[in-house]
Amino acid sequence: MWDQVGQALKLSTTKMLSQLAALLPGIVALVFAVLVAVLIALVVSAILRRSLAGFEFDRRVAEWGFPAVAEWSPSSSPTLLVTRAIAWIVILMGFLVGISAFDGALPSQFVVRLFTYLPDVAAAIVVLVAGSIIARFLARSVLIGAVNMNLQYARLLSVGVKWLVTVLAVTIAIERLGIGGGIIRLAFGILFGGIVLALALAVGLGSKDLVSRSLERETSKAAAPNMKEPVGHL
């Protein structure tokens, strides 16, 4: 009996070791792929950092109207943010190549699904960037227009417009990624309606004195042509 037990243990050990041995090339390939990816990432990020520094990327990002990017970036440098993001993408690609070196069906399926998901991720990023640009542009237009109309709540209007467009862009991006389904639409409806209602309440109730003062001023301006106004510009 002890011989049979020993035989069984020997068989299972051999089976496990042979299975481990079968996995070993895959693991080695994974480690190798990751190491190569890290090396490539280092080289790419070094080249990119030098190019962006030559292009004065940090200053230009602020000039293009994205000073907030510097706030989110490590060491307040958008250059560092971009180079690190690219480096991590290269390492991730190396990791995925390494995983696909395993012969198992599961990792391969995972990689295939991940790659089919990438266009949606890219589309979501484009929507977010475009939304951010449009939100900023519209917010600035509203702010300048409202200040020129002498509206005391100019900043409130501008911030409201900015958040409306941003929320819309984020909702489209999340929906594109297929996260949340109907809940996102519902949440967006509630949030969007909430912002509009909050603005209406703030302007109509909370700031009613402010509004009435602004309206009074507008009315008195409309009556101005009846007065002798000696100012001319051209």
Partner: protein, 420 residues
């Protein structure tokens, strides 16, 4: 050659109607005048010349027809011959500035087609326009060989503020010529200058609609043309449209900055300024009865300072922003914007426009609270001043524009390196 302002067949019809020595444009964008009376005034004005002249009068009296009306002639052979032509009415979407600019283009196109020796354009409201205006604008070109005759008007101290505080001193500092009204709107031009402006205009208009009025004086100054001024008397101003002030500023300053950008190579080397010949004697303005309410203007300035720091921060250097913040806290009676600060603000906005630091429309509209602040400061300072003091004040401001020109040139050449 720029001839698309009027269709080619119409221009050919105008050309067939006969040659002309000069073209006179008389526009009234608010009250359309009877076309024949424009021709009559012109005929009376041209009768003052020693030699009989042939002229075509272009107006926008709403009776547009592709054909040129038959010339009005007096009985004898020594009288001028005046034909008239009515332009199509301006589009409803056009602003007054765009309408004047387009009307100018159409008159220039006709003048260019006919190869006229001189061109006179009157874009002020008609009831002040007399034959004297036409004669004074055209005579220095026809008899004395000048290429550009710019207008001088009799004004109250709070009239023509954009001209006095920005356009005139800026033109003086950039091009070295002391012109009171570089953007007219009433001008006399030689055929040579007209051809030069049209040529440049058609070359630059490909991508952008320019206000041609902004480039008339600068074209004359840059091209070495002979420029003079003539006294035209009182010019009735349109009532101030406070609701559209930012549109007016955006149109006028936008056109000026675009023109300035195109002539940067020329104006960077100019230092100082010269007084130009001036014809006619100035009229004494009627007594100034109105008072200016500066309270609203200062409030607009303070609101801008509170809310537009992010926008101005992209255009103005930190020292200017600090100074503006300090000014916004001053009580009304002590509110004064120093000349050097105002001049540098204008120069920084011109530079921001050139560098496209932010959207050009945003940049130009965001200057409105600053302009109102400056006007309030000027009005407070000039409250009890007489006309001589106003002239001295404007001269001081113009000198400040000249003195700070090195700041503009340095920032224009090295915007990254030179940022105080």
């Amino acid at each position: 050659m720029e001839l698309d302002a009027i269709s080619q067949p119409e221009l050919e019809q105008i050309e067939r109607a006969g040659s002309a020595d000069l073209v006179i444009g008389i526009f009234d964008l608010e009250r359309q005048e009877d076309g024949s009376s424009a021709a009559t005034i012109t005929r009376e004005a041209l009768a003052e010349f020693a030699t009989p002249l042939r002229a075509i009068v272009v107006s926008n009296n709403g009776t547009h027809s592709p054909a040129v009306a038959a010339p009005e002639v007096a009985g004898d052979n020594h009288s001028p011959i005046v034909s008239s032509y009515s332009l199509p009415l301006p589009g409803s979407a056009e602003t007054p500035q765009q309408s004047i600019s387009n009307a100018y283009r159409q008159v220039f196109a006709i003048g260019s087609k006919l190869g006229v020796r001189a061109c006179g354009v009157i874009a002020s409201r008609d009831h002040n326009v007399t034959r004297q205006w036409i004669y004074r604008l055209v005579q220095p070109v026809m008899d004395l060989g000048f290429d550009l005759v710019a207008p001088c008007y009799t004004r109250q101290k709070m009239e023509g503020l954009l001209n006095r505080n920005v356009l005139s001193p800026l033109h003086r500092a950039l091009y070295g010529e002391q012109l009171e009204n570089p953007m007219g709107p009433d001008f006399g031009l030689s055929g040579k200058l007209l051809q030069q402006i049209l040529g440049r205009d058609s070359a630059r208009r490909a991508g952008t609609e320019l206000n041609i009025l902004a480039s008339i004086s600068s074209a004359a100054a840059s091209g070495g043309f002979q420029v003079c001024e003539t006294q035209l008397g009182v010019r009735t101003q349109r009532p101030t449209d406070w609701g559209n002030l930012s549109t007016l500023l955006s149109e006028v300053l936008g056109a000026t900055f675009i023109d300035m950008e195109g002539r940067a190579a020329h104006w960077q080397s100019i230092r100082g300024s010269k007084i130009l010949p001036r014809f006619g004697s100035p009229e004494t303005p009627s007594s100034d009865t109105g008072t200016v309410d500066v309270h609203g203007m200062i409030e607009s300035f303070q609101l801008g300072t509170q809310n537009l720091q992010d926008v101005w921060g992209l255009i103005l250097p930190p020292t200017t922003l600090l100074e503006l913040k300090r000014l916004s806290r001053l009580p009304e009676d002590k509110f004064r914007i120093p000349d050097h600060l105002w001049v540098r603000i204008i120069y920084d906005f011109a530079l921001g426009h050139h560098l496209r630091t932010i959207s050009r429309d945003h940049l130009l509209r965001s200057i409105t609270p600053l302009y109102l602040g400056w006007i309030a400061s000027y009005a407070l300072e000039m409250q009890t001043a007489g006309l001589a003091e106003v002239d001295a004040r404007i001269e001081r401001l113009s000198k400040a524009y000249e003195d700070n020109k090195s700041y503009l040139v340095s920032r224009w050449r090295w915007p990254d390196r030179f940022n105080p």
